[in-house]
Every structure is written in C-alpha cells, then in structure tokens.
C-alpha cells in the first residue's frame, strides 16, 4: 500500500516537472515569436525609410515639392520606428537585422498608392497581430514600440491619402515643413497640440522636416 502511494507520488512529481518544462518551453517559444516579429518590423521600417527617401527624390524631380517633403518626413518617422524596434531586439538579446532592397520607384502617383497600401497593411494587419503577440508575452517594451509605430502609420496613411486626392493641385508646389515626434515618429502638418498625442512628448521637441 505504502509502495503504491510512493509510486503515485513519484508519478505526480514527474508530471509536475513535465508540466513546468512545457510551460518554460512555451514561454521560450513566445519570446522567440515576439523577437521574430520585431525583426520583421525592423526590416519593414528600415526598407520603408529607404523607399520613402527614393520616392521623395522622384517627387522633387516631378515638381511635387510638398509631396517630397511628406515622403522625407515619413522616412524620418520610419527611421525612428526602426531605432525603437532595434532597442527592443537588443533587449531580447539579439542583433537587429535588415535586408535593404532597392526601392521600386515609379511615378509619384503610383508611389503614393504604394505607400498607402504599405501603411494600411501595417496599420490594419501587421502591427495589430504583432501587438497581440507582444501583449501575450507581456513585453511592455515591444508593445510600446509597436504601438508608437502603428499610431504613426495610421497618420501617414491619412497624409498620403490627402496628398493623393489633391495631387493635381500639388503640381509645382514648393517644399513644406512637417513635424515629426523624435520619440514615436508621429507626423503632422501642424502642431495643434501641447504634447504628442501618441507619446506625450512636448511639441517643442518635434523635429522639422521639409
């Protein structure tokens, strides 16, 4: 009887150890997934930075000065996002890696359409999924970085859409100043607030990009 009890206890103990190992493995798997997501996001933001700078050059050459400024401001924002993501990747013990591809530059109209498509995908699909995963992993640094990027991408999509709608009237326009939050990349045409709506950085600290 005692031997039977002892055997049962041993089995129970093994079961507990096995469950604990499974939980540990699941945690490690989740951490890897968030890391992979951050690497994907870092790659995406780094490429967007390069792509928007190329789009800005094209817009300048076609005489859309204001659109060129918008692309440069968005490029700066993407650079800030890439920097934020890189910090999280380093915190997770890895090295940020990006494969910069040669931008596919077309006409400014097509470039704007491509930019809207990219920003919309990031706002509606990519970042919400990555955020859900980071929240499950309770990685606050990742949530913060992804949240900043998602909010700014939504603003970029609005600005690009407005530019595309008014593209004909923007022909021959001069460069204009956009304001980019140095912490979260939030991009606006006017500083109509005291603090950044996304990260509460005072408006005085916003970078001017034209």
């Amino acid at each position: 009887m005692n031997y039977a009890k002892l055997g049962l206890r041993r089995k129970m103990k093994r079961l507990v150890v096995a469950l604990a190992l499974c939980a540990f493995a699941a945690g490690a798997q989740a951490a890897t997934t968030t890391l992979q997501n951050m690497q994907t996001a870092f790659n995406g933001e780094s490429n967007a930075h390069a792509r928007y700078l190329a789009f800005a050059q094209k817009a300048d050459s076609e005489g859309y000065g204001e659109v060129a400024s918008l692309f440069r401001a968005a490029a700066r924002a993407e650079q800030i996002h890439a920097g934020n993501h890189a910090e999280v990747i380093k915190q997770l013990g890895a090295t940020p890696q990006a494969k910069i591809e040669t931008p596919d530059v077309k006409s400014t109209r097509e470039n704007l359409e491509a930019a809207i498509k990219g920003e919309t995908y990031e706002r509606d699909t990519m970042y919400p999924e990555f955020l859900s995963q980071a929240k499950r992993d309770r990685n606050t640094a990742a949530v913060k970085s992804l949240n900043f990027a998602k909010t700014a991408e939504a603003e970029h999509a609005k600005l690009y859409s407005a530019a595309l709608t008014n593209l004909d009237s923007l022909k021959g326009s001069k460069s204009m100043t956009f304001f980019v939050c140095p912490k979260c990349g939030f991009t606006v045409r006017e500083l109509s607030f005291a603090k950044c709506p996304s990260c509460f950085t005072p408006k005085e600290k916003f970078e001017k990009v034209s």
Binding site: V16, R138, K150, T151
Partner: protein, 182 residues
Amino acid sequence: MLHFPPIPTWEAMHPLIVHFPIALLLLSPLFILIGAALSPSRGQPYRIAGLIILLLGTASLFVAAWTGEAAGELAERGGPVDAVLAAHESLASQTRILFLVLTVILLGMTLLPKALRRQETRLSSTFMPLAFLVLYSVGALFLVNTAHAGGRLVHEFGIHSMVPEESAPAAEDASAAGERDH
C-alpha cells in the same frame, strides 16, 4: 498558499498609485476646515495634519502623472478613446500644477507666521484657511474631472495597464509539497 504578487512595472504602477492622490487630496480640506472652525490653538494640529496630507497627496499626484504617461504609451490609439486619453492627460497636467501652487500657498500660510514669530489670530487661523479652501475647490474640481476621465478610459473603453505575469503557484506549491514528502 498566499504569496507576494509579482512586482509591477513602472507602467503597471498607475492603477495602484492613482487612488492615493484622489483620497488624500479630497481628505486634506476636511482637516483644514475643522482647523478653521476651532480656536487658533486647538485648530492648529488639524491645519498641520491637513498640510501633511496635502503634501503627501501632491507628491502622489506627481507619481500618478508620471506612471500615467508611461501607461498611456501602451494604450492603443484610434477612435473616441483618443480624445478621452488626451483630456485625461491634459487635465492631469493642469491638476498637478494647481496642487503644486496650493501646496506652496498652504506651506507659506503655515510656516510664515512661525518664521516671523507672530501670534495666531482669527485672521490667520480661520479666515485665511477658509479663503484657501475656496481656491482649493478649483483644484478639487480639476482632480475629480481627471479621475472621471481616467475612470471612463478603464470602464468605458477598457484601457488597462499590463500587469506582470503571475508565476505558476500551483506548480511551485505542488513541487514544494513533493519535496516535503521526502
């Protein structure tokens, strides 16, 4: 078995801290009012208690605002929540400034007569505290509006702080029990 919950991160401190300024800063005027109603000598301990509570409340208000900004960075934006979050943040900043000013005024009202070695009179012990409470009501109005906006964020829009993950107490307890059996 009861055990300590996980230590909250700076961002997750906001829901813990935020109740302190609300309670303390709404309690302080009651002590000031009692102090003003009593004679100068009998009312003095109440006025000092009111000042101490105000100091603690203002200090906790600053911590609540700092942790709130950190927590706000984790809140997903989009839709009507943006306006409420912006209002909450803006009101919190204004409330912080107001209570800093109120604290400096009450400190001055309490310490200046002592520094100048002046005897307490009805003017300094009753009428000035009552006038101070009129000013205080402005701060209290900002405070309750800030709290209301915060309450809306949580209970109407479901904005929550990220609480650190619980360790697995069941597994730990079972393992510990197993160890004891041997």
